[in-house]
């Protein structure tokens, strides 16, 4: 009923904030870059002068020995020797006393423009900054000139890299703005309006026992106070009626009967309902979840690199395998901590769980920042994994508990959305941070973000355990139930687990290492790894749409796996620097497309009559996926050590494609077999 106004508000605020953000960031960045260009030019000219002095020395010697300039042999070869292996020099030009170029050398030599001798010694040409040195005895007129051109190409490359980073800040800033707006508006507008609405409806229905939280100083508080005042007024009037009735009743039995009839008429309408406690909306849990996932994913693009370096520093024989242990340890910790986390959320409530998880994760991040050995790092990652499990279970429980009836799927979609956007933002901005301030300090930023999450949880999460949460089943029980659904098993082993294997083995382990070994900066590595989440998000929506409207859902599952496998073969066809980002993007697309159909397939595979309900299967699916995630880095590390990067990628691709094909065959077989044994389709 109030939706259109609020929707317009949200849309306007989002548009305003994103537009202002982009504009401000763009302007500030442009100012920064132009300031840098102004300052870097004299530095480059100084470098040119230093180099020129060194290069000119033998030419000066020749001149002083009386060698005529036009008879001076080997100048071009000499310039080439100087330029070999030296980056950033566009040209070396020897010019005569009148300024005409005699010898040119260098990658951009043809772009050199001659200058008259009386001109300025330093010029800014298109391709380079040109600095001119005079050659010859100091007291006389110059006999020749040496021009050193400092290329602007390395400068421009650095600036281009910075521009990418600024784009990342814009993207992350925009997403953060949306999440923050969602949070604040939920708490200040949508939530209070909905609560006031409910309260007013109950008042109108006769339930006068309700009160609203009127502590806020803004409109919501004022509204709540008005509602409370109305409730009090109505209650007062009711009380007055009862007093009047007593007065009447004192006038005799007949009057008392009349009064009672009046009261009965009123009582029919006014009942005593149960007070509905104020419930925070789902956004209360979404923002902390988003921030926490982002904090965890800050380090995604460099964990295998850091692990490898720590292992090497410790003298390990197989640094790659130990780096894989770091990733697998995290995933294992998450998997093992999830069931106890669920029990804790059911018993002690989401607030206690998220607080515990946040503290443990913060300790883990601090440990990761300070780790000096690979084993310390692995221990820290285990703590982070436990924290991650607790926090995400707590947020999920909170969102489920406050979800409006019948909108559970949408709420859970919001959960996944928060996780994915948090992952995208975290990966990208974390890489930029690590590039600037280092990998250890980036973990400290993660810890600080977790502190913020704890503050939000303290403020926003209600105490106590909501009644609607069911106690999760034990692992063995889940497994027994899951095994009763063969279609589910096929899905798990042939689709879900290989997908996670590809994710952790390729995107989280091999790709950062390969990109780093190509010489890319940390920011660039993060950008490429981020492509996974970036492509996955729209693909999830698309996959859901296709699954809902067409019958292509199951085909998407194995089709995506095969496409994923083919993508991993790209490095054989194209240079690695191009093939890797494309492969990462295709992986994201493929796994995104298959996500919704997979959930639908799980629901379809459920056998509620045997206890294997959809939620149970889903929980087991998650567990299986964690197992695949744990296996991925090990497999990748072993392949990398044994066969090299290209073969490792291809092997993982083959696994993905092969399991996809087998799954397709299994489905085909099942369809063929099903009519024969009379199982309803």
């Amino acid at each position: 009923m109030t939706a259109p106004v609020i929707r317009r508000l949200v849309a306007t605020l989002v548009a305003v904030s994103v537009a202002m953000l982009l504009a401000c960031v763009a302007l500030v960045s442009a100012a920064a870059l132009s300031a840098f260009e102004r300052e870097v030019r004299p530095a480059l000219e100084q470098e040119a002068a230093a180099l020129g002095g060194v290069v000119a020395a033998p030419i000066e010697t020749a001149i002083s020995l009386g060698v005529p300039l036009d008879a001076l042999p080997g100048v071009a070869a000499y310039f080439e020797t100087v330029l070999a292996g030296r980056q950033g020099v566009a040209w070396l030009v020897l010019a005569g006393a009148d300024g005409t170029p005699m010898v040119r050398a260098g990658p951009r030599a043809e772009a050199f423009e001659p200058a008259p001798p009386e001109g300025a010694a330093a010029r800014r040409l298109d391709a380079a900054y040109d600095t001119r040195l005079r050659l010859g005895p100091v007291a006389e007129a110059p006999r020749a000139f040496l021009h050193v051109g400092m290329s602007r190409a390395p400068l421009e490359a650095a600036i281009a890299d910075t521009r990418w980073d600024v784009l990342i800040v814009m993207l992350v800033g925009a997403i953060l703005a949306i999440e923050l707006l969602r949070y604040v508006l939920e708490r200040a507008v949508t939530g209070p309006l909905a609560a006031a609405d409910r309260l007013a409806a109950r008042l109108a229905a006769g339930d006068l026992a309700v009160t609203a939280d009127d502590a806020a100083p803004d409109e919501a508080g004022r509204l709540a106070r008005l509602a409370n005042a109305l409730a009090r007024r109505l209650a007062d009037r009711r009380a007055r009626l009862e007093w009047l009735a007593q007065e009447v009743a004192s006038g005799g039995a007949a009057a008392a009967r009349g009064a009672a009839a009046v009261l009965a008429r009123v009582a029919a309408r006014f009942g005593m309902g149960a007070a509905e406690p104020a419930m925070p909306g789902a956004a209360t849990a979404r923002l902390p979840l988003f921030l926490f996932v982002a904090a965890e994913q800050l380090s995604t693009s460099f964990i295998p690199l850091l692990g490898r370096d720590l292992a090497r520093a410790g003298g390990a024989a197989d640094p790659g395998m130990l780096a894989a242990v770091a990733i697998a340890a995290f995933v294992t910790a998450v998997a093992l901590a999830t069931p106890p986390g669920g029990r804790m959320a059911a018993r002690r409530g989401p607030r206690a769980t998220i607080l515990a998880g946040g503290v443990i994760a913060a300790l883990g991040f601090l440990g990761a920042a300070l780790a000096t050995t690979i084993w310390g790092f692995i221990l820290a990652r285990i703590l982070c994994g436990v924290g991650y499990a607790l926090v995400s279970i707590a947020c999920q429980a909170q969102m489920v508990a406050v979800a409006p009836r019948g909108r559970l799927a949408g709420t859970l979609g919001g959960f996944t959305g928060a996780v994915m956007t948090g992952a995208v933002c975290g990966t990208a901005i974390g890489a930029v941070l690590a590039d600037r301030i280092g990998q250890g300090p980036t973990f400290l930023v993660s810890a600080a973000m977790v502190g913020l999450v704890l503050l939000l949880a303290l403020r926003g999460f209600p105490r106590g355990a909501p009644a609607t949460l069911a106690m999760p089943l034990g692992l063995a029980q889940e497994a027994r139930l899951a095994l009763r659904a063969p279609a589910f098993l096929a899905l798990l082993l042939l689709a879900a687990v290989p997908a996670k294997l590809v994710l952790t083995g390729f995107v989280f382990y091999l790709a950062p290492i390969a990109l780093n070994d190509l010489g890319l900066s940390q920011s660039a590595v993060g950008r490429y790894v981020m492509l996974y989440g970036f492509c996955m998000l729209p693909a999830i929506a698309l996959g859901g749409w296709i699954a809902d409207r067409t019958r292509l859902g199951p085909a998407l599952i194995w089709g995506a796996a095969v496409a994923n496998g083919i993508a991993l073969a790209l490095p054989f066809a194209a240079p690695l620097e191009l093939a890797l980002p494309v492969a990462i993007a295709i992986t994201g697309l493929a796994q995104g497309l298959a996500a919704a159909p997979m959930l639908a397939a799980v629901a379809a595979a459920a056998r509620p009559e045997e206890g294997a309900t959809a939620p149970v299967l889903l929980a087991f699916l998650r567990l299986g996926e964690r197992f695949g995630s744990m296996l991925g880095p090990f497999a990748a590390a072993a392949l990398l050590a044994g066969a090299g990067m290209g073969q490792a990628l291809a092997a993982i691709g083959v696994v993905s494609a092969a399991t996809g094909v087998v799954y397709a065959l299994a489905m085909l077989l099942r369809r063929a077999v099903r009519p024969a044994i009379g199982v309803p389709a």
């Binding site: 020395a57 033998p58 030419i59 010697t61 020749a62 020995l65 009386g66 060698v67 008879a71 001076l72 042999p73 080997g74 100048v75 070869a77 000499y78 020797t81």
Partner: protein, 331 residues
């Protein structure tokens, strides 16, 4: 220029005063046997220890170009038992040590480690078995740049297809170098024109034949004239180099005598003092490092002095390339 003997005296005196008394043991004693007196190579040898602040006790003996004094010195060495023996020059070293495979313990020095300085072709002269493995407790330095390095140095100045090399056929060293050069050039696809100096009836080479040789070189289309380390040519270096200029032939030699003290165009030379220091470096490895001399290879310097005579370059119109001027030593 003070007489060699007085310099030698001062050298030992100076070192003796400078050497502090060591608490543990005395400074190592080195017996230096010289051929023609104390000169820059010995300066380099002595100065190395001074710069490293390593006290040594130098005992100097000079045969003054008379090899008949060698046996007496060998006997003295046996009695003195120095920690190391230093030998100057190819002839002296061969006389004192004998061939590595035909060593006579009575005549030749044995049982004491030795280093040799300013020696040419120790392998060919059978002082050591090979440069990498001397085959006896003897090591040292060569002062002539390897022929291959010389060929590269010539090409760095100006590429060539044909080189002419005059030499005294009676000097084995010289002939061997020319032979080696011929092989190296053939491997590069270039040609070597050998020009042995005709020998007179009295068994000595004829200096008046030099101009004719150079004309022959020019007629043969030689682009460079290579001068091997050759005593006869050294004695007539002025005539040789000036005639070469007249014939328009750039000259290259491995000895600074032809460039710095004549009119040769270019040369890749070892400074005697640097060679002496290098020899001292090897001596240090034996004395303080405790290494067996037979395990220390015989080496030349890694960096040589590229000398270029600019006046000759101007006369010939053959200026050195700029890249070479960076490292070259204009003379």
């Amino acid at each position: 220029m003070m007489p060699a003997s007085r310099r030698a005296l001062l050298a030992t005196a100076g070192l003796g005063l400078a050497a502090p008394a060591l608490a543990t043991g005395r400074p190592p004693r080195i017996l230096m046997i010289l051929f023609r007196g104390w000169e820059e190579a010995c300066d380099g040898f002595r100065d190395y220890f001074a710069a490293r602040r390593m006290p040594v006790d130098l005992v100097v003996r000079d045969v003054a170009q008379d090899l008949s004094r060698v046996p007496a010195l060998v006997r003295e060495a046996r009695t003195m038992r120095p920690d190391l023996v230093y030998l100057w020059g190819t002839t002296l070293t061969m006389a004192v040590l004998g061939p590595w495979d035909a060593h006579d313990p009575d005549r030749h020095l044995s049982g004491i480690p030795a280093v040799f300085n300013i020696v040419t072709d120790p392998v060919g002269n059978r002082i050591v078995r090979s440069r990498a493995a001397p085959g006896r407790p003897v090591t040292g330095t060569e002062y002539i740049a390897p022929v291959a390095v010389q060929v590269e140095a010539i090409a760095a100045y100006r590429p060539f297809r044909r080189i002419a090399a005059p030499f005294n056929p009676l000097e084995q060293n010289s002939a061997r170098v020319v032979e080696e050069m011929g092989q190296l050039l053939a491997a590069r696809g270039a040609a070597l024109q050998k020009l042995p100096v005709p020998v007179r009836a009295d068994g000595r080479p004829d200096p008046s034949a030099i101009p004719a040789l150079l004309r022959e070189a020019r007629a043969g289309g030689a682009e460079w004239l290579y001068i091997p380390p050759d005593t006869f040519l050294n004695d007539h270096r002025a005539l040789l180099t000036q005639t070469a200029i007249a014939e328009g032939l750039p000259t290259f030699s491995a000895s600074e005598r032809f460039v710095a003290f004549a009119d040769g165009l270019a040369g890749l030379v070892s400074r005697y003092t640097s060679v002496g220091a290098f020899t001292a470096f090897k001596a240090e490895q034996i004395l303080t490092g405790g290494r067996d001399p037979g395990s220390i290879p015989v080496e030349t310097l890694t960096r040589f002095s590229y000398q270029i005579r600019m006046e000759t370059a101007r006369l010939l119109g053959a200026y050195p390339p700029v890249g070479l001027l960076r490292i070259a030593e204009p003379v």
